[in-house]
Each structure stands twice: as structure tokens, then as C-alpha cells.
């Protein structure tokens, strides 16, 4: 099966899968950058530089890549990518303004993405394929959600973003079942709870490090729970099959709604402070908040001071960890442990 890469979690994977491609999230590795230096300045985040590096090294063998409008860096990366590879590159203009009034535009863009993917695969996306793809991802997200409530598994989540979704779904289900049988889980909960919030962190090792320091971890990361958190009712999609005539339209409508209701991210503009409230709400049940941010990531760093202020007003202790890849886990460990001690 040919692969189609994407970078931002606002990319509707459902359409890619329905078109017969395996969607693969492009993530940087924990390695220094060399080739990318002559294509992207040093003041870009490590995720962009590291992803480009992998492509330039020939590590990514994709038919095409979907860039989704999020930050200025990714906006420019699309062209840089296209100029240096033979992959097809498409720019999906997800609106920045996530207000009721822009859902129509998102729907239009979904149709354009659909026809682009159809052009790539050479065949039309049928309603049946699209609906079953939507269901597949819905189930995967639900399972991961349940699994993370019991015990987060960042290795598995990484697989969910980069491997065949059917296989990962099976693995997740098996894992969930296995955990369900274990009695002692609840008692293993550690006394201190931390919310880890931030952008891209594709290294499960770092998450393990935080929990090894003594924290029970919940997260609000772009490579963490924001990958599978959508506030949408699946009941709707189950009824679509019956009305064959408009089913593609209904499925697209569903996707538009689903991605509108995706866990909020700082790269978007919401009504009524939806992003801040989301984080503050998550923070209610924790003792501490760790900001895990990529150096040079503007959307997150603009939010940081005011968000921190609000969290501190709630009585939460906070820690800022600024990452540039390759990260030294040892240094991080020292800082996290020291932070733990202050609580």
C-alpha cells in the first residue's frame, strides 16, 4: 500500500485511507540535523527541521504529502519540501478561525482534498469506503482514549500515527483487554499527577522519564491525547449508510464537524477562549503542569505566559521544558526530578 505523509493532526486521515493510501504522520527523530541546514534556517522548530532532514536523507518513501495550514513554519515547509523531493505535495487550507462561520469553508476544502487524493490514486472515493474509514478511525480513537484512561502507552500511540490503523487497532484492543484483567492497576497510581502540555514530542522515552520521576501523567500534546480527542457523536455516522444518495456529502459533513470539534490547539483561533479553558479544565485534577514546548514554536510560546499565570492562579506549579532535538534525556531527567522535589 502506498503511503501519504502528513504533519499536522488537523489532517483528515480518513480521506487518505479511503483513497487507498496509508496515512503516516511525519515526525522528527532524535538526531542532529545536517542536510536540512541548507534549506531551513536554524530558527525553525526541530519538528520542521527534523522532518525535512529525514526526507532529504531519503528515509521517507511516500507517494505524496499533505501539508495542513497551521503555523507559518509548516506553511513555508510545503514549498521547500516540494522543491527537494519527487513526492506530490498538497496544501490543505484548514481554517485558522474555528468559528461557526468557517465550517462551510472547511467543507469546501475537504472536497478539494478529496479530489486531489482521487487524482493521486486514480479512482473515485466511494461513500462506502469513506464511511468505513471514518468508522475505523473512530474506533481507533475510542480505544486509545479508553486505554489512556487506564494506562497511557506512548509507544502504541506513536504506532497509531505511523502504522497501519487496522493493525494498531487490534493491538490496542488486545492491550486494553490485557490491562482490564490486571487488578493492581489502580493501586499503581502514583501520588503526584502532572499534566504535560505542548506541541510535538515524538519520543515516548521522555514521557516515560516523567512518569519514572514519580508522576502519574496525563497529557495535552499534539503527539499525545490531542491525536485522538474529538468531541463528536459517532451516532451520526452509523445512520449514514441508509441514505445512499447523499452519503458522500453526509460523510464530508461529518468530517467537517469532527475536525472542528478536535481537541483545541494553539495554532487556531477559537471563540470564548476554548483553548485555554480546555487546558485549565484538564489541569483541575493535577498537581503540576509541565510545558513541553519546542523551541521556536510561536503558537505555543505566545500562549505560555498567560496560560501559566492562569494555572498558577489555580494553585498549580509549573515547569517549562524547551526542547530542541536531539534532546539529552539525562538533562531533562535532572530538571524533572528537581521539579518533583519542589512539590
Amino acid at each position: 500500500m502506498e503511503k501519504v505523509g502528513y504533519l499536522c493532526t488537523f489532517t483528515p486521515k480518513e480521506l487518505i485511507w479511503a483513497a487507498g493510501f496509508q496515512p503516516v504522520r511525519i515526525l522528527a527523530l532524535n538526531q542532529p540535523v545536517s542536510l536540512a541546514n541548507s534549506h531551513l534556517q536554524s530558527y525553525s522548530c526541530s519538528q520542521a527541521r527534523g522532518s525535512l532532514e529525514r526526507m532529504l536523507k531519503g528515509e521517507l518513501n511516500f507517494y505524496g504529502v499533505i501539508f495542513t495550514r497551521s503555523c507559518d513554519t509548516l506553511m513555508r515547509l510545503a514549498d521547500i519540501w516540494e522543491k527537494n523531493s519527487s513526492m506530490r505535495v498538497y496544501n490543505f487550507e484548514f481554517p485558522t478561525k474555528l468559528h461557526e462561520s468557517s465550517i462551510g469553508f472547511l467543507r469546501r476544502e475537504l472536497y478539494d482534498l478529496k479530489s486531489t487524493l482521487e487524482g493521486w490514486s486514480g479512482k473515485e472515493i466511494e461513500a462506502e469506503e469513506l464511511i468505513s474509514s471514518i468508522k475505523l478511525y473512530g474506533e481507533l480513537e475510542k480505544t486509545l482514549n479508553m486505554l489512556f484512561e487506564v494506562q497511557p502507552d506512548y509507544e502504541l500511540l506513536l504506532k497509531a500515527q505511523t502504522q497501519n490503523p487496522i493493525e494498531v487497532l487490534e493491538e490496542s484492543k488486545a492491550k486494553l483487554e490485557e490491562l482490564g484483567r490486571k487488578e493492581e492497576l489502580k493501586s499503581r497510581l502514583k501520588s503526584r499527577k502532572a499534566l504535560v502540555t505542548g506541541s510535538v514530542c515524538p519520543f515516548p522515552g521522555i514521557m516515560r522519564l516523567i512518569s519514572d520521576s514519580g508522576f502519574t501523567v496525563i497529557d495535552d500534546l499534539c503527539t499525545g491525547s490531542r491525536f485522538f480527542t474529538f468531541d463528536v457523536e459517532y451516532a451520526g455516522i452509523n445512520s449514514i449508510e441508509n441514505s445512499v444518495e447523499n452519503s458522500v456529502e453526509e460523510a464530508i459533513d461529518f468530517l467537517a464537524k469532527k475536525y472542528f470539534q478536535k481537541a483545541p490547539c494553539p495554532t487556531k483561533n477559537y471563540e470564548n477562549e476554548r483553548r485555554f479553558n480546555y487546558v485549565l479544565n484538564k489541569a483541575k485534577e493535577v498537581d503540576a503542569v509541565i510545558f513541553l514546548l519546542l523551541k521556536f514554536c510561536e503558537p505555543h510560546f505566545f500562549d505560555y505566559p498567560q496560560l501559566r499565570e492562569k494555572l498558577e492562579a489555580m494553585g498549580k506549579r509549573t515547569l517549562l521544558l524547551e526542547l530542541e532535538f536531539p534532546v539529552s534525556e539525562e538533562q531533562l531527567r535532572t530538571r524533572i526530578e528537581a521539579f518533583y522535589e519542589t512539590l
Binding site: 541548507s38 534549506h39 531551513l40 534556517q41 530558527y43 525553525s44 495550514r69 497551521s70 503555523c71 507559518d72 513554519t73 506553511m75 513555508r76 515547509l77 510545503a78 514549498d79 521547500i80 522543491k83 496544501n91 487550507e93 481554517p95 485558522t96 478561525k97 462561520s101 468557517s102 462551510g104 469553508f105 469546501r108 476544502e109 478539494d112 494553539p266 495554532t267 483561533n269 523551541k295 521556536f296 510561536e298 503558537p299 510560546f301 505566545f302 500562549d303 505560555y304 505566559p305 498567560q306 501559566r308 524547551e322
Partner: protein
């Protein structure tokens, strides 16, 4: 905007030929900033936003970016930025934003601070930075932020983009009507549009004077005098001011006075100026007999709204989508190559500006596609901590030797 005189000394020996217009521009801008103190209606806008709606509703537009440029030119970037950094705003954020936030936190600025906004209009056709920046300011002042969301035109401008923006413009009108409980006056709006177009035209005429060989002006003159087209676009001021500026340049040509004596190279500048080193750079190039005849930054303000189309709002939407920073690299290269031809340029100086990612990322690819040789220098538009004079000097000297 102040030019840097004091700290670099020896103004009397400078070979920079100052335009009289620059003095007049300073008076105009002083008036503009003073006016802000009495304004009853105040909106903060981004530099690429359709300010025409504000002028049509008698709303005083505040331009934090222009204010940032002014801070940069007065060499106070690091100072004001430090107030924001103390509050936790990263030093890697856009320095215009940091300076602006620093002024808010310190409750002062070179012009005594900016008036408090009733609302903020963020238009992301220049960057997504402004969205985040204005959200921060909006929280501080408890003022609403209206985001005019402009899709990015990587390859082609789709009709659906224009639809989307046009709808938002109508929403924005509704937003203003509600905020001020006043009806939108279409007649007045059309008049503002007409003035806007006239202003842009006469500004474009001034920039075109750089085509003359040798050139009567440099892009540094253009930078110093761009504030009126940014801040006062839609009023009578720009067309009058730029018409006078043009006369001055024409008479320079008649008298055989040119910006650089014995002009040998004609260069193009890419990106926002290095505001705190304008004088140094000007003198450096004069010394080398190189004239910066044009730049991509000021020329970004010369896009014309086609008012003759049936629907001016739609045509406004189209114009604001297509601006220079909102297009893909191929389209940018076309635009630069066009400037190269128009101004008969021998080389390009590319400012890789730490603050401005949408302007700077992609420059390495652009460099490979230009018709003429170019050099990249690393700096920041207002934060002098990111600038190494010796490094830039060596680079530029080496470059000039090759062309």
C-alpha cells in the same frame, strides 16, 4: 521614524543625501500618533489588514508593527522587548510583538504608549504570528479580536478563498456596526477606497523612481517614508505626501543629484529592514557605490484594488489575499524577478530575519531561483542582539566583489 544619528556619530560627514520628504513624513507621523490620544474609536490592526473599513467608520487605526519599526529605528528594541521577556514571552518570538507587549507592560514607548483598543483586527495574510500576538493583547485589554482569516495561496487563488474572505468582510462590517452602534456608510466607504487606491498609486510612483539610472532614491528612503501608506492608507494624506516626494525626486534627477555618487551596482533588498542599522547599511553601500534601488517589502504595499469591478468588497478580498507574504515560493520568485527586471538589478541582498518566519523560511530556495546573484545576511528587524556587524560586513564585501 527616527533615523539613527546620535550613537553612530559623525552625522556631518555622512554621505547620505536626506530627502526633505523625510522630515515632512516625521511631522505627519507625529500628528498621526498625537491624533491617537484624542481618538474616540480605536482599533488595532495588522499591517496587511483592510484598514479601509476602519477609516470609513471614523475609527482610529493603531499599527503596532509600525510602532515596532519606530522602536527598532530608535534602537530601543532590546529595551522594550525585555519587559515582555520578563513576563515569560520567549526571546524567539517576533520582535515587533515583543516590543509591543513590552510597551504595554512598561506603560510607555517612544511615543508615550499606544491608545487602548476597543477591538483588534488581526489579518493573517502576513503571518499567523499576529493571530497569537493579538490574542495576547486582547486578553490584556479585555478587547475582542476579530480574525480575518486569509487562506494561503501556495499555487493558485481559488474562488472558494475569495468567497470565504468576502463573507468574513461582511461579518466584520456587522461586527463594527455592533461595536459602535452605527450603521456602515457605503458612500463613505467608497470614498475611502478611492483614496486608498490613489495613495497606493502615488506610493507606487515614488518607488518606481528607482528605475532611473542612476537612481534618485534608495530603498532606505522608501523604508523611512513608508509609514503613511501603511498607517494612513484611505485618507488624503498619502497621495499628497507621495506626490510631493515624487516631485522632489524628479527635481533631483533634473539637477543630476543621485542617491549614490557614481552608482556602480544596483541592488535589491529582500525582507523587512534592519531598523537599527539603517544608517550603517546606507553608508556602507554608498561607500561601495552600490545603490539599493528597490526592495520586496515596500513594494508589497503597491497591490491595487480593482474598484471598477462590480463588487468592491469582493475585489478588496481578492487584493488582500494575493499580497506578497501570502503566496507560495514560486509566486514570490516571480514577483522578485519582476522587480529585478523592472529596476535592472545586479544582485539581491536577502535579510534572513529571525523574527519573521513567513518572510524568511524558503529564502534558501528562493536564492536558487533568482535571475541574479544574491547573498543572505542574518539579522533581526528590531532586536540588535541578533546582529553581528562584522559578520554582515564581511559577507556583503565578499558578495560585492563577485558581481
Amino acid at each position: 521614524m527616527e533615523s539613527e544619528t546620535k550613537s553612530e556619530g559623525k552625522p556631518s560627514k555622512s554621505k547620505i543625501k536626506k530627502l526633505k520628504a523625510t522630515k515632512r513624513m516625521q511631522d505627519i507621523m507625529l500628528g498621526y500618533y498625537l491624533q491617537g490620544r484624542q481618538a474616540e474609536r480605536v482599533g488595532w490592526v495588522t499591517s496587511g489588514a483592510p484598514v479601509e473599513f476602519l477609516y470609513a467608520m471614523d475609527i482610529y487605526p493603531v499599527y503596532p508593527e509600525n510602532h515596532g519599526a519606530l522602536i527598532g529605528a530608535s534602537k530601543q528594541g532590546p529595551y522594550f522587548s525585555s519587559f515582555a521577556e520578563e513576563k515569560g514571552f520567549s526571546q524567539d518570538l517576533c520582535s515587533y510583538a515583543r516590543c509591543d507587549l513590552g510597551c504595554i507592560f512598561s506603560e510607555t514607548s517612544p511615543v508615550g504608549g499606544l491608545p487602548r483598543p476597543d477591538f483588534l483586527l488581526a489579518c493573517n495574510n502576513i503571518c499567523n504570528t499576529v493571530v497569537k500576538w493579538y490574542e495576547v493583547v486582547g486578553r490584556i485589554y479585555k478587547a475582542p479580536v476579530f480574525l480575518l482569516d486569509i487562506p494561503f495561496v501556495r499555487k493558485e487563488l481559488k474562488e472558494s478563498y475569495i468567497d470565504y474572505v468576502e463573507n468574513q468582510l461582511y461579518d466584520f462590517i456587522g461586527f463594527l456596526e455592533k461595536t459602535y452602534d452605527t450603521e456602515f456608510d457605503e458612500g463613505k466607504f467608497k470614498n475611502v477606497l478611492r483614496l486608498s487606491i490613489e495613495g497606493v498609486q502615488s506610493y507606487g510612483d515614488v518607488l518606481s523612481m528607482g528605475k532611473h539610472k542612476p537612481s534618485p532614491l534608495t530603498c532606505f528612503d522608501a523604508f523611512l517614508n513608508m509609514a503613511p501608506i501603511v498607517c494612513l492608507r484611505g485618507t488624503e494624506v498619502p497621495s499628497i505626501f507621495y506626490a510631493e516626494m515624487r516631485q522632489e525626486l524628479e527635481s533631483r534627477i533634473k539637477q543630476g543629484i543621485f542617491a549614490v555618487d557614481d552608482e556602480k551596482y544596483r541592488l535589491l533588498w529582500d525582507n523587512i529592514p534592519v531598523w537599527y542599522r539603517m544608517r550603517w547599511l546606507s553608508e556602507f553601500f554608498i561607500e561601495k557605490k552600490a545603490c539599493m534601488v528597490a526592495d520586496t517589502y515596500t513594494n508589497a504595499w503597491t497591490a491595487l484594488i480593482d474598484i471598477n469591478k462590480k463588487n468592491p468588497i469582493r475585489s478588496l478580498a481578492e487584493t488582500y489575499i494575493g499580497i506578497y507574504l501570502n503566496i507560495g515560493l514560486d509566486l514570490m520568485v516571480d514577483a522578485i524577478n519582476e522587480l529585478i527586471d523592472k529596476f535592472d538589478v545586479d544582485g539581491v541582498i536577502i535579510h534572513s530575519n529571525r523574527s519573521c518566519k513567513p518572510y524568511s523560511f524558503g529564502q534558501y530556495e528562493i536564492q536558487r531561483m533568482l535571475e541574479v546573484p544574491s547573498v543572505i545576511i542574518e539579522a533581526d528587524m528590531t532586536d540588535s542582539r541578533a546582529f553581528s556587524e562584522s559578520q554582515v560586513e564581511t559577507r556583503l564585501e565578499a558578495f560585492l566583489e563577485t558581481i
